[in-house]
């Protein structure tokens, strides 16, 4: 006759509970990690404000004209993509500049000639194409050598013009500047300078 011995129920559920807890912790860490690396946004798994507020078709004519204007102003264009994106239900557009190190953008040389570039940027902001296309917001994103977005900075065109003309205070400029960053990418970026 066969007989079976079973462990007390309490001990069994304790072990299972421990494994379950670890699984839950792992899942939570995985989800937080995914968000920290902006994976859902990168993969288009979550809807973003851009699709909601911007027309799906960039203004290609204006994008090209503005890229040409930037080049004429002496701003670096290697590894730089410029897009004019019209906003829905208005005649306004935004200008989005993507500075991509993996496509040849050199942030070191930009940092070395920042004063000169700031002066050229001031000239660029006065360009007729910016006014003609009613660009009210300008964004700059920086992508690392592996093509991942590291950070994005944005301010209204008026704020940038005022800052260039020195007609607003430092505090007013700071208040008008917004940013977002991929923190893990940023940390490796900083370490690359060490």
């Amino acid at each position: 006759m066969l007989s079976f011995q079973t462990r007390p129920g309490k001990a069994k559920s304790g072990c299972l509970g421990c494994v379950g807890f670890l699984v839950v912790v792992a899942v939570v860490l995985f989800i937080l990690g995914a968000f920290a690396f902006r994976i859902p946004q990168e993969r288009g798994l979550v809807s973003n404000a851009a699709e909601e507020h911007l027309l799906p078709t960039p203004n290609r004519e204006a994008s090209l004209a503005i890229k040409n204007a930037a080049e004429r102003s002496g701003l670096p264009v290697a590894g730089v993509d410029l897009y004019v994106l019209p906003l829905k239900n208005t005649d306004e557009s935004i200008l989005y500049a993507s500075l991509d190190a993996s496509s040849g953008f050199d942030i070191q040389s930009v940092a070395n000639s920042i004063d000169d570039l700031a002066a050229k940027g001031s000239v660029f902001l006065q360009n007729a194409e910016i006014k003609k296309n009613n660009i009210t917001q300008i964004s700059t994103e920086y992508k690392s050598n592996n093509g991942s977005r590291m950070f994005v900075l944005t301010a209204s065109t008026d704020t940038l013009r005022a800052a260039a003309n020195k007609s607003i205070t430092r505090e007013e400029f700071i208040a008008g500047l917004e940013a977002d960053a991929n923190i893990p990418q940023l940390i490796s970026f900083i370490q690359s300078f060490r």
Partner: protein
């Protein structure tokens, strides 16, 4: 970790502010982070830091949020643009392969179904390939994505005219035969739409005159 990220944000913001010097940079970055309630007055991360780092929380202005998120949208646009570039390459010189080009444009449409640009491109190519009915379908769908917005329709018809003119040039370059009449007729239709949408009377007249020229070409029997 937070201070480091603030520092690098400062490095980036130097491009906008034109300030220089590492101390000024750090000071600027810290002041920015305080202004946005990311760090407290004593430099410690606030509760908002966690939500911004992990979830990329709203700035409080939906337009600014859209601008910040635009980079994710552009990723899709770039992939579709790669397909459009491949389509263009498939139409150049001896490599001319319109079926491959249509395939690439179809991929771009699948990636960005609401972007009318690729439907304009494919429509022009379908006419070139002798399938004006399929082209018409593409053109109608492209216009639907504008939701009657004037600026969108103007850009769409300018873009369509450019795509049709490129197609016309290819037809002249590649064959001794006359170009397709449907290319001329579609060009005329787009110019007439631009005339309707234009506010300046001179521009209206210019578009109407151009439309008439295409109509004449289509009716002279110099096309197929």
């Amino acid at each position: 970790m937070n201070i480091r990220s603030v520092l690098i944000l400062g490095i980036a913001s130097i491009t906008l502010s034109g300030c220089s010097g590492i101390d000024e940079l750090i000071s600027f970055a810290k002041d920015w982070a305080k202004d946005k309630d990311i760090i407290s007055d004593n430099g410690m991360p606030t509760g908002k830091t966690v939500s911004r780092v992990v979830f990329g929380s709203s700035t409080g202005d939906s337009k600014v949020d859209a601008v910040i998120d635009a980079g994710y949208m552009l990723r899709g646009i770039k992939q579709a643009e790669d397909e459009a570039r491949n389509a263009n390459a498939a139409l150049q010189g001896d490599a001319y392969n319109p079926n491959a080009a249509i395939g690439h444009l179809s991929q771009a449409i699948d990636m960005r179904p609401k972007d009318w640009h690729y439907r304009n491109q494919r429509g022009a190519l379908l006419i070139e390939q002798g399938d004006p009915d399929a082209a018409k379908e593409d053109f109608i769908k492209a216009e639907e994505h504008c939701n009657n917005a004037k600026g969108c329709l103007q850009a769409l018809h300018r873009g369509r005219s450019a795509a049709l003119n490129e197609s016309l040039q290819r037809q002249f370059d590649r064959s001794d035969a006359d170009p397709k009449c449907a290319t001329y007729r579609s060009l005329s239709a787009s110019q007439l739409q631009l005339a309707v949408l234009a506010e300046d009377p001179k521009a209206k007249k210019r578009y109407r005159d151009t439309a008439e020229e295409y109509d004449i070409k289509a009716s002279l029997g110099e096309c197929l």
